[in-house]
Symmetry: C2
């Protein structure tokens, strides 16, 4: 069978994967953040097969992450530009980069450094924090169904934790 799709899954993670969870897709978005705009920019930078790149760009346009703009002076020649929705992926890309900087490459071995263009200082690390800015970990959090929760989500979030179901 083909790959299972997550369209119907009532979960933000699944929805995000549906939009850009395919193999090359997030790297295409990354390249766009680095300034790539044209089909050939992406293709040369990634070494991706053209049919795949074509399909992924189409998918990203369909999901409103890129817009396809005709920039031909006398006919068709296209650029793929990040929309506002695509720009908002900066946080996701930053979270991924910071995670691998710390846990894959290790501090001091970062392949890329991101700075504030004006001040030249490195950007602040992303942190999950409460309203006062205090750092929070997984143990400090509580999840509950929101206004858009499906019955399945409610069931998932209200089940008893394993510790209580089966004490050891």
């Amino acid at each position: 069978m083909g790959r299972k799709r997550f369209d119907r899954m009532n979960c933000g993670i699944a929805q995000a994967l549906e939009a850009f969870g395919d193999w090359w897709t997030l790297l295409i978005v990354r390249d766009a953040f680095f300034g790539a705009r044209r089909f050939g920019d992406f293709q040369r930078s990634l070494g991706i097969a053209k049919n795949i790149l074509s399909a992924r760009l189409q998918h990203l346009v369909d999901h409103g992450i890129f817009e396809r703009v005709d920039v031909g002076s006398e006919g068709e020649r296209f650029e793929y530009r990040l929309t506002e929705k695509g720009d908002a992926l900066l946080t996701v890309l930053t979270a991924l980069r910071e995670w691998s900087d710390e846990w894959v490459f290790g501090r001091g071995n970062e392949p890329v450094i991101v700075r504030d263009r004006r001040t030249g200082r490195r950007i602040a690390k992303l942190r999950v924090a409460d309203a006062d800015g205090a750092h929070l970990t997984r143990r400090d959090l509580r999840t509950e169904p929101g206004p858009g929760a499906s019955p399945a989500t409610i069931r998932l979030l209200t089940r008893r934790p394993r510790e209580e179901r089966r004490p050891r």
Copy 2:
């Protein structure tokens, strides 16, 4: 050919995808954050085929995101627990959830709400910011090669932006 692997790519995004970019993998991690530990927890929650789940869990253990702990009272019975490296993915999952809350579901339709367990208040939104906390967008950032940059990365980051290469 089968899927291209990104092991050798000198980029944090690619490395992160290598660790958990496979189709089900991030949803498995999400379920772990929601409290799943046992093989059957993940399987029932996701409806994933057992061979795939088995391979994904193995992959996550290989990458140090989960550890496989024998909890059998008299023989083997396993739990998969997030390591510190796995816990650090909280930021990534939060970024993904916040993006889809805003751009897929829309404000007021969030399927899940995350709160500080102590205060009951919703957690602060992740923001890319400079050292003083000022919000930054893609345009405010500058990327440069870091100490671990490969020649390919340096080439990518130091090329002229398209605007300057080919003014319109």
